[in-house]
Amino acid sequence: MIEVASAASDMQIPVKCSCGECKEWGMVELQGSLEIQHSTSLHNLTIGSLCRTSTSTYKLVIGYHELEGTKVTLKKPLVILKKVKAPDAMDTDPVSSSDPSLSTSTPVEMHVVGIIRHKLLFKSRPKALISKQEVKPKKQRELPSLKLESSRELLDPS
């Protein structure tokens, strides 16, 4: 069967920058994962305190743990992309707009919202700030699949 060219489905997703000048975002990379204790919402929850100890070194204190990190310039820049509905597609196909996957028939665009050129990398094992060893009930967070690799805790400041 030969499809009519004019009716062929659009198989392109434009990737573009709509903001004009893209700001540099911050990126913090830790080994392992963060765990949350007795908290229902993550919004506005404090993770810890970040301190710049020299021009290239940083210290991150999370709960009772202290992490040493460095500022690393990325070999290649990263752009941060956000999926948005194509502006000219608003009136064409409102049915499948709830499906966020890339293969949806609703035309989408990827917009650059920021650039990352440096990251703060905390790759060393955390140092305990106090000797008290607590037995904590661990609860994995309901966030994107991350393997539990170390037992760093994130404490609710309250």
Binding site: V15, K23, L30, N44, R52, I80, L81, I115
Partner: protein, 390 residues
């Protein structure tokens, strides 16, 4: 981001989840500076049907999209989110004596990995499929096409249609259209049916003989004027001249008349293919005689011209020649070598070399591909090396 990276030495910030944390999904894409520049200035395109592996195209290059996941925790901090936590940042950690004047920074997302780009060969097979839906055969077809009727457009593609459906960059599609000798007619890109094109070239060559024209200096306007009486459109006549010839430097005095030199080798190959179409297998001597007889006077056929078009096999005392065209072979290296070894289990370098042309494998040298897909054996230094499948 500025807040974290420009922090004064011994300055500190409180890091926390912003109130918009995880409400939006972000993807990280790793790019070269050159790709970044094009992305910010002109934009890029991700292409693919739901069944395809998606690719990302710049104006010149095609990249495969590789998702690399990380087991580390990667937090993104937006420069616009830094103030939302300000009110919460009252509790400066007591144990941070050297940290002063805390401000705050908001984490807006956690990302499980990033997307890397790997340059890849353009996926042009679909281009051939699309163009072959309706090759240009005769000019009568044109009138049908120009009807307003939607069916009249079936199987016809504009450059935009092709760019939309073919997983390759704009310039790679352009180059591919050129290499398959497609022509843009009334806005649609068409390949011209082989027999139709052969017929037209025959008419042009015959006309040239009749009018005593020099085929190395054909006046386009003259050719068009005479040949269009045989029912060919000027556009397709010009295309035929361009396919089999090259434009001769235009005289500044008369810029309106283009002149074309028909290329000896292309015209000779045209006649060779014509012979092979009527009889698929020829004894070499018979072929050479027939070939010379058919070719217009003034042209000198050489067996060398047929490299990549015919295979010559030595069977006993005789050599036999048959059609085996490099343009009919797949462009992916693995498929190309498999097709070659299916045709012939052993290859000498001189025979093999023409069939390695036009393979699509960015960053791979011919030597590397030979190492990967063939085994080279040389029984003694006096005999040529043979390539066999690996």
């Amino acid at each position: 981001m500025a807040e974290l990276l420009d922090l004064n030495v011994n300055g500190s910030v409180t890091v926390g989840y912003s109130d918009s944390f995880a409400t939006e999904e972000f993807k990280l894409l790793e790019v070269d500076e050159s790709v970044l520049k094009e992305l910010l200035n002109d934009g890029l395109t991700i292409k693919g049907d739901p069944n395809d592996e998606a690719v990302l195209c710049t104006s010149s290059t095609t990249y495969a999209i590789k998702y690399v996941s990380t087991s580390n925790t990667v937090l993104l901090l937006s420069p616009t989110q830094h103030s939302t936590l300000q009110s919460d940042a009252t509790d400066c950690p007591e144990n941070e004596k050297d940290c002063t004047r805390p401000t705050s920074a908001g984490v807006v997302a956690m990302v499980p990995g990033l997307i890397e780009l790997v340059e890849t060969a353009p996926r042009l097979d679909k281009l051939k499929v699309l163009l072959n839906q309706r090759p240009y055969t005769e000019d009568l077809d044109e009138e049908q096409m120009l009807e307003e009727d939607e069916r009249g457009r079936t199987g016809l593609y504009t450059m935009d249609d092709l760019a939309n459906q073919v997983q390759a960059s704009y310039s790679q599609i352009k180059a591919a259209l050129e290499s398959v000798q497609a022509v843009e007619i009334e806005g649609f890109w068409r390949i011209v049916d082989g027999n139709f094109m052969q017929g037209l070239l025959d008419v042009i060559l015959l006309t040239a003989v009749q009018h005593d024209w020099n085929i190395k200096l054909l006046q386009e306007s003259e050719v068009v004027q005479v040949v269009r009486n045989d029912g060919y459109t000027p556009k397709i006549i010009e295309h035929c001249l361009a396919c089999y010839g090259k434009e001769v430097e235009t005289n500044v005095q008369e810029p309106d008349t283009r002149k074309w030199e028909l290329e000896e080798s292309k015209v000779c190959v045209h006649y060779a293919k014509q012979l092979l179409r009527s009889v698929p297998k020829w004894r070499l001597e018979d072929f050479l005689n027939a070939w010379k007889r058919n070719i217009p006077t003034g042209l000198q056929p050489e067996l060398e011209m047929l490299k990549g078009e015919v295979l010559i096999e030595r069977i006993g005392a005789d050599s036999w020649l048959r059609l085996f065209s490099v343009s009919s072979l797949p462009t992916k290296p693995a498929e190309r070598f498999s097709a070659l070894f299916k045709e012939n289990p052993k290859w000498e370098w001189d025979d093999l070399e023409p069939y390695l042309r036009g393979m699509q494998a960015p960053g791979q040298s011919v030597e590397a591909m030979l190492l990967r897909y063939t085994r080279k054996t040389q029984i003694s230094p006096n005999v040529p090396a043979m390539y066999t499948p690996r």
